[in-house]
Amino acid sequence: MLFNFHRTANAAKTSCGGCCTRLVNFGVRLNGVAILEAINLHVHCGELTVLLGPNGAGKTTLFRAMLGELPYSGQLQFIHAESEERFIHPRIGYVPQKLDIDALAPVTVMDLLTGALAQRPVWLGHSRALRAQAGKMLAAVKAQDLLDQRIGQLSCGQLQRTLLALALMPVPDLLLLDEPVSGVDPAGIDLFYHMVSELRRMYDLSILLVSHDIPTAARFADRMVFLNRTILCDGTPREVLAGPCIRQTFGVDLANVGLSQIENQAARVCQHETCENQTGCRP
């Protein structure tokens, strides 16, 4: 197996069936302490769910457990639309917050991508076919110029888009984004969120995104989940921002800014497009 591309053939799974990722009574204990407990969450395909919560709420722990890095109790299921078949392990695309390398590390974007995709050792050079493949992956996230850049030279936004390109190859069932826009400039944040929204529609992806940026999250999220050891609030951005969770933790002002962002966004969408439900995936 030289390449791991077999899933890309059905990349365009555009139908909005009722596929979803489901956490049932999900919990994580570390050294006898419950970090997460009694989490019940359904993430539907084509839905961008923003995960909010104070520091230490267990957001990253949730991701690590879902990736299989930490033992968990309860169930993690992926349910396909057509077959109602249940899979214990969905194909998860993951975008970490950062890489564990220093700025001077001799790793190019090409090295990073082929390190994941091919078996031929990256230091023996890259085949032309693989370069073309990597270029295409980067083009999908508007980062085609970065192929020969060193990872350490990339801006936060460029690195995030590169990691996003990697997470989309092969197309996952569920995409986990861990604070993808921390350290990114406002224009970069917008670009990133627009891209993620687009990809969600194109591939009918379920996306779970951890963010601290409430105003931007409010504009793009289909759904907001407030987590602190367990799920305390869950609903549309409007519902969650109006509810007590955000107001108590992050303050009334921030919640109101978020709400006004939603109003602006709604007005803008209605000017340019029809006002029907964009995601269209909710059962």
Binding site: E69, V107, T108, R120, P121, V122, D148
Partner: protein
């Protein structure tokens, strides 16, 4: 071997006329790429302290071999190093103490236990050759051992290099891509342990980690991509090896440590020409 001696004997240098130097040169030309290949991943996966600890732990391995009455303690050293490598991996997985602390503790235990066992009755001086190593005493069948080891590492690298490299970039990301992170890391740790242990008698456990790390660290300063990184590490490792061997011949110094000094020289040079 006779073929090699024939070639090396025709080198127009005084030192190249001695059979032990010809053997040592061949050994260096095998050890250099071996160490460079391993060293590159040891550095990028942040395992420099681990490989250092494995080198020191060989003391206990030697002691076990001696107590068991083995003529050549190599197998005891290999077994002990492999067990230790797995132990560190397991502790790293299941303990909440930091990796550095775990490795530090295990290294302290292995060194102290080795010294205590070997110094019983005041006979430690007999084993000091393991501390410094002696490349000039290498024999043809031991060179064959190095050939096999290099072939093994090269084979493993062809299959697993990318996964090991990717695991070093971000473990969660590697896991998300379905790489068996823990098994990979344990496998790599055992491989490093084997390579370090097998080469200790010729390089010496005091400087073996430097030989592993320094050429790769110098290459890291100069390289901008993975291919440049690995190739430069091999070149720097081979150059320091050859220069170190020749100068140790003329200065009558320990070969391993002399090679390390050359490697450090290259590292300082690499700082000057560092890519920004």
């Amino acid at each position: 071997m006779t073929f090699w001696h024939h070639i090396a004997g025709h080198l127009p240098f005084e030192w190249a006329q001695f059979v032990f130097m010809q053997n040592a040169l061949l050994a260096i030309l095998l050890i250099a790429p071996l160490f460079a290949l391993i060293g590159c991943l040891v550095i990028s996966n942040q395992m420099t302290f681990f490989s250092d600890a494995i080198g020191h732990a060989a003391l206990t391995g030697i002691a076990i071999g001696v107590l068991a009455g083995l003529a050549d303690p190599l197998w005891a050293m290999l077994g002990f190093a492999a067990v230790l490598a797995v132990l560190v991996s397991v502790l790293r997985r299941y303990s909440s103490a930091s990796t550095d602390t775990i490795i530090g503790l295990i290294m302290a235990l292995a060194v102290a236990l080795g010294v205590v066992l070997l110094s019983r009755g005041g006979g430690f001086a007999r084993y000091s050759s393991y501390l410094i190593g002696d490349l000039l005493t290498i024999r043809p069948f031991e060179i064959l051992r190095l050939v096999l080891l290099l072939a093994l590492v090269a084979g493993v690298w062809l299959v697993f290099f990318n996964q090991l490299f990717f695991t070093g970039l971000n473990r969660s990301l590697a896991r998300a891509r379905g790489f068996p992170v823990w098994r990979l890391e344990t496998f790599f740790a055992v491989l490093v342990a084997m390579v370090v242990t097998i080469t200790i008698p010729w390089v010496g456990l005091l400087v073996i980690n430097a030989l592993l790390i320094v050429p790769a660290a110098a290459a890291r300063n100069l390289a901008r991509s993975m291919s440049a990184y690995v190739l430069l590490a091999i070149i720097i490792s081979a150059l320091s090896g050859i220069l170190g061997l020749i100068s140790s011949f003329y200065w009558s110094t320990a070969t391993g440590a002399t090679i390390v000094l050359w490697a450090i020289g290259f590292f300082i040079l690499s700082l000057v020409f560092r890519q920004r």
